[in-house]
């Protein structure tokens, strides 16, 4: 199994969710994160003190999938999250050794 981790722009969540739904992937975990990369931040000024804000709000999606689905999921995220503007994010794929569904104790692919 694989853990697909995607950093995306917050405004693309709904599209990505729908794209995954059409792949029949119905589970994921989302975290609000701050991203730092090529996308320039902006500056904010409070009472005359200027702050360079390097970190921009992003969402991190974690999706555990069966090996066979990993590429499809990656591609679906890439396509649905893309705006073509800098800061669109990354997709990382990690190896997943084991999965357990807490409710039932099932393990392996059937636990996804």
């Amino acid at each position: 199994m694989k853990l697909v981790v995607a950093i995306i722009k917050p405004s693309r969540l709904e599209e990505v969710r729908q794209a995954l739904n059409s792949l029949d992937v119905h589970g994921m975990t989302v975290t609000e994160v701050k991203g730092y990369g090529r996308q320039k931040g902006h500056s904010e000024i409070y009472r005359g003190t200027e702050y360079a804000v390097h970190f921009l709000p992003k969402l991190k999606l974690e999706i555990a999938v069966d090996d066979s689905l990993a590429d499809n999921v990656s591609n679906a995220i890439r396509d649905s999250a893309q705006t073509g503007r800098i800061g669109d994010g990354k997709i990382f794929v990690l190896d997943l050794l084991a999965v357990t569904r807490i409710r039932t104790g099932e393990t392996g692919a059937s636990a996804l």
Binding site: E44, I45, Y46, R47, G48, T49, Y51
Partner: protein
């Protein structure tokens, strides 16, 4: 015996002569011998004014400041304001009122301070009265005592903005008590009590530009310098954690300021309405001016800018509230907006002091603009309402008097604040919390709690 809170600008004698000019609400000419009456309309107005100056401090000022600090220090600011207010309220009835407003009418130290004859309001009964500015009208003395209490409280707690995010709680309380005793009380006496030095000189201070704003602004600056900057100051961002709180605070400050300025007329008459409308217009102009200044210099008009400009305008109109016409109020507010913007954007980084929440930049600088500007906007030719014979009013002459008041306030408050800080440092083994305490935040390290939980 009468209380001698005055508009300034005239010795008691000339004030009394001036009174007919203010008697716009007496239907019939005041008969010489008529006993003064208490009008319940005045009492109602003053009770309300008192209440709103309290709400201006708690929660107004507390939120205004609290939103500007980091989330880890919000409760420390709220607690400092709450308990600072509470302590000063009790000290005020204990000895503050007496030292500010009781005592001999001349001789001795009477130009600087009163005496302890009204210790714990001794002798203030249901029947004792305080004078207003109109012949024939008086207030129950207790109304005056309570109204003045609120001024003592807000002035002292204003200082907290200068030392936010790094001072030991006990040290702060001690500092406030000392400064209140040796700077607030004498300044209030000098400006507002019959025998007071500045009162005698004829300084104009309608609602406390000098006593409240310059006084606290300078104290905050000195305390901030003695304390030193916060860890990370000018190195890392220290952005406000919640500007909505600051906005609510600004709204309540504005609201309370109506009682502060218009209440300082001590009656509910047409001049009160002058003070009220000026207290709408000057901050409105200050907000627009600051916002415009930001727009021009940095491309954006910000929310924090708008409310800061309004406070600057409020500070500046304070001494002039009942002396300025609407045109004067608008111009004075706008100037304060621009100059205070300059003070916090340019002056502060230049001098590198860490007056955390810009008490000096806004209250100190705005207070000075207001005190000096009062001499100008009070001119009848500019729509103002000076005391006494309008035809005899001289801008230049009044300006020099105002300048003297400013200098005395700056020096007096500065010296007292410096000494008070040194005493406090000695007693408390330094006035700052530990480095770890500062980096964990004062909420946890000083007060054992956090503001926000899941």
């Amino acid at each position: 015996m009468k209380m001698d809170k005055v508009l300034g600008g005239a010795a008691l004698a000339s004030l009394l002569l001036a009174l007919p000019a203010f008697a716009q609400d007496a239907a019939a000419p005041v008969v010489e011998e008529a006993a003064a009456v208490v009008d319940k309309g005045d009492v109602a107005w003053m009770l309300v004014s008192t209440m709103v100056v309290i709400v201006m401090t708690i929660p107004g000022l507390a939120l205004f400041y609290g939103g500007l600090v980091r989330a880890k220090n919000i409760l420390s600011v709220l607690t400092q304001v709450f308990l600072g207010f509470s302590m000063i309220a009790i000290l005020w009835v204990a000895y503050g009122y007496s030292l500010a407003f009781a005592g001999p009418t001349e001789g001795g130290l009477s130009a600087f301070v009163g005496d302890l004859s009204k210790f714990f309001l001794n002798g203030v009964t249901l029947d004792s009265r305080a004078a207003t500015f109109s012949a024939g009208f008086e207030l129950p003395e207790l109304v005056f005592v309570t109204f003045q209490l609120t001024f003592a409280c807000i002035t002292s707690t204003l200082i907290i903005g200068g030392i936010a995010e790094r001072m030991k709680f006990g040290a702060l309380m001690a500092f406030l008590a000392i400064w209140f005793t040796f700077s607030y009380i004498p300044m209030a006496h000098m400006v507002w009590s019959g025998p007071g030095l500045l009162f005698g000189m004829g300084a104009y201070d309608f609602a406390g530009g000098t006593v409240v704003h310059i006084n606290s602004g300078v104290a905050a600056l000195v305390a901030a310098i003695v304390l030193g900057p916060r860890i990370g100051f000018m190195k890392e961002p220290i952005p406000p954690h919640n500007l909505v709180l600051t906005y609510i605070g600004a709204g309540l400050l504005w609201f309370g300021w109506f009682g502060f300025n218009a209440g300082s007329n001590l009656e509910a008459n047409a001049l009160t309405a002058v003070a009220l409308i000026n207290t709408v217009l000057a901050p409105a102009a200050g907000a627009l001016a600051w916002a415009l200044g930001e727009k021009i210099t940095r491309g954006h008009a910000s929310a924090l800018g708008a409310v800061s400009g309004a406070v600057a305008g409020l500070v500046a109109i304070t001494p002039a509230a009942g002396f300025a016409g609407v045109g004067g109020a608008i111009v004075l507010g706008a100037i304060a907006g621009v100059v205070c913007l300059w003070a916090v954007v340019t002056l502060k980084p230049l001098l590198k002091y860490d007056d955390s929440l810009d008490v000096f930049g806004i209250h100190g600088v705005g207070g000075i603009i207001g005190a000096l500007g009062t001499a100008i906007v009070a001119a009848p030719g500019l729509g103002g309402y000076p005391l006494g014979d309008a035809a005899a009013y001289s801008i230049g002459g009044q300006f020099m008097v105002q300048l003297t008041g400013v200098v005395i306030a700056v020096v007096w408050s500065g010296v007292v604040a410096l000494i008070a800080m040194l005493i406090v440092k000695a007693i408390f083994g330094g006035a700052r919390v530990s480095e770890a305490g500062e980096s964990d935040g004062l909420d946890l390290s000083s007060h054992g709690e956090r503001a926000y939980n899941g």
